[in-house]
Subunit: 426 residues, 2 copies
């Protein structure tokens, strides 16, 4: 079966009308890496959700695996046989077609072989090919059997750390939708009324964490982004997420603390409500925003935790500049929380484990990506970071405030307005 | 850093209140496979989106990688260090903790080593470990260096093919939300009015494919499921998806056929509008539904294509029974379309490539999974299939109708109501 005559090809020639320019890399950094490591090329194999492949190809692959080969300055995509027309529309390098049954590792080896045959300078030594350390084992075996020696490279993950202007714009666009989603949650809380036993009512019914989560996600959808299963809403010590591994339309909750969650998940006045989103836009890039609101606060633990979290967030932001260690930015937040008498909790959306270093991490095609504290990374201009200090208490619940920023030569710039409110505004 | 004293542990002991039972496998089939292949265990390594790992562990992992080890009848999870408390809540086997920097492959090898040390029957021969063929190469190298011989197994993917009652319920639940989402699109189309040049107006503004897509996704969110970037809406020969790799909040469109898409993406009367969703529920399981509507049809190509697609869908469904070849079910649809004078197009959501065999494929933790036609698979009772014949024409656009079914001993049962309407209903 050939796709050469596919009618969609005619469109690929001039580019689909109405298609916005996409953040793209020409992969020049791979030419440098290949040259420095004395290799003949780079190969990656993965599915449609592989962030490195998405970065290199802009091809929104299917769940079936495909291969990308970078050799001799040429960029070659080996898409699944049933996605060739789409690959041509989305990828600006060469497309290598194949029989449906051919393994992507086998196809990558064939592309490398062709490039070597065409190169009179190639010698008989076992040629080195750079691969991500996580390349599927079966693909690696195909390459090794074809006579290539594999060496791992993290060059792609490192290149992804520094965003281009187009990537920053893509993230800004997702973040605008994230702000609208969180704002929707805030407005619902502002409109909620206190009922019996301090329960919040919205539109005459108890306002559960799950109801709030669904309304926030609906607003994300209206903004053109996917919640990606990353939205979590915590009311007091009960949190609901799109990721708790539970099916069904009934409310889903688990405890974020030592106390059992209330089975009904209903929000109360004078109780912290955390709305935490990390949506994914059609570009594949993520946003990240978390805000905490308290309806009709009596000014107790929630207020103190909020003030401490704000101070921690601002202290962490104040550390951000090129050259600063990611871990130090997180530690600054932790120290500030400690000065207010609070222990730290994780920056993760769906996790109650304590890992203060993850208060700060990169955001891009992956929800969490480099730079990360564990690897001892330092900040560089163009990096995009989520900074998310939070405080958790077994009796009271959680407070979390996050900001998304881009590192600049002078320090950082916020992505989005950065508005915060303790008392939800209409 | 230890997580043993994490306050959430107390909850794990009795199970979080309010948490619905989750579809779970005890992995007994792995004991059989390990025994038959004379191996000492099974190891899988991957990230939070790995469907096999999700199936085996019910652990909604983070984007960081983790390992699952099945050895000596014991199920062991090696989660990232900052997710131990969550792993304990979600996984019902043993949790192996570690230092944050330890590689999941190294940790898996340590678990296997411990099991062998404890087993007096183990001998000095290089022990065999079963792995998925796609295990990350770096993890495979850790296992090999620890003295294990790797053999690949597809036992997990095969086990996933046949759904348990709990899995079928999870998919039914997602499919109900999918139906509400498509129904929302139908109602908007029913409420739309014809404006100048036959353009459809909704709430006084032109109804674009992107507007319709966002409204459908908002309804999916209200139903508690994520659109997962899989929703596509086609109006005439223009399709918008959440997956076209384009950033920005502006409308995104590409041609599904040889003709260029209209830049504005506005729907018209007497034009086919395809709404195609494949949402993912909080359980990780997917639904799938596509419907085609025509507002104020003049009964031309669209009507003929719709009648042919209905006949093709019904013909394909008529072939479904245990033992039938997946490819034959697709071929039945193709033959029926041909009898009406139409060529086939793919069953994929976002693809205009022709692959008639993919009119039928399995649905579960992956949007497309076994059984698939390419591998010569046959149907078994308990399999869940999407059947999605479609017709595409360069001048007119597309018609697609899909059904989600479960294979039974007697044939099949629809998942969801299976309602269809050519003219959108209020």
């Amino acid at each position: 079966m050939t796709h050469e005559s596919d009618p969609a090809e005619a469109v690929a020639e001039r580019g689909p009308i109405g298609q916005v320019a996409t953040p793209a890399t020409d992969g020049t950094f791979l030419d440098v890496e290949i040259d420095e490591r004395d290799a003949v090329g780079y190969v990656a194999v993965g599915g449609g959700l592989d962030a490195d492949l998405r970065y290199l190809t802009r091809f929104r692959g299917p769940e079936d695996r495909y291969a990308y080969v970078h050799t001799g300055g040429e960029r070659v995509l080996c898409p699944p046989a049933d996605c060739v027309a789409r690959a041509r529309r989305q990828f600006d390098g060469r497309i290598a077609t194949a029989r449906p049954a051919d393994h992507p590792g086998e196809r990558a080896a064939a592309v490398l072989d062709s490039a070597r045959e065409a190169d009179p300078a190639s010698d008989d030594r076992a040629p080195t090919v750079l691969v991500p350390p996580t390349i599927p084992h079966d693909a690696a075996i195909y390459l090794e059997r074809a006579g290539y020696e594999l060496r791992s490279t993290t060059a792609v993950g490192e290149a992804r750390t520094t965003k281009t202007d187009a990537e920053i714009e893509a993230i800004q666009s997702v973040q605008r939708a994230a702000e609208r989603g969180v704002r929707r949650g805030e407005r619902i809380l502002a409109a909620a009324e206190s009922g019996a036993a301090d329960e919040l009512l919205w539109k005459g019914r108890p306002l559960t964490a799950e109801r709030l989560r669904r309304e926030v996600n609906a607003e994300l959808a209206r903004g053109g982004v996917s919640d990606a299963g990353n939205t979590s809403v915590a009311v007091g010590s009960t949190v609901v997420t799109g990721a708790t591994g539970v099916a069904g339309s009934s409310d889903v909750s688990e405890a974020i603390t030592g106390n059992a969650p209330r089975a009904d998940g209903v929000a109360h006045r004078d109780e912290s409500v955390v709305v935490d989103v990390a949506p994914r836009g059609p570009s594949g890039y993520h946003g990240r925003l978390s805000r905490t609101f308290v309806v009709d606060s009596d000014g107790g633990w929630e207020r103190r935790a909020y003030v401490a979290s704000e101070a921690a967030l601002d202290a962490a932001l104040g550390e951000i500049e090129p050259g600063a260690a990611v871990a130090d930015v997180g530690r600054e937040a932790t120290a500030e929380l400690a000065a207010f008498g609070f222990g730290p909790t994780s920056g993760g959306n769906t996790d109650s484990d304590s890992d203060p270093t993850e208060i700060v991490h990169g955001v891009g095609l992956s929800r969490r990506e480099r730079p990360r504290a564990q690897s001892g990374a330092t900040l560089e201009s163009g990096g995009i970071l989520a900074v998310s200090p939070s405080v958790t208490d077994g009796d009271h619940g959680q407070v979390r405030l996050s900001e998304l920023i881009v590192v600049t030569d002078e320090g950082y710039e916020r992505i989005g307005g950065g508005e915060r409110a303790f008392t939800p505004r209409e």
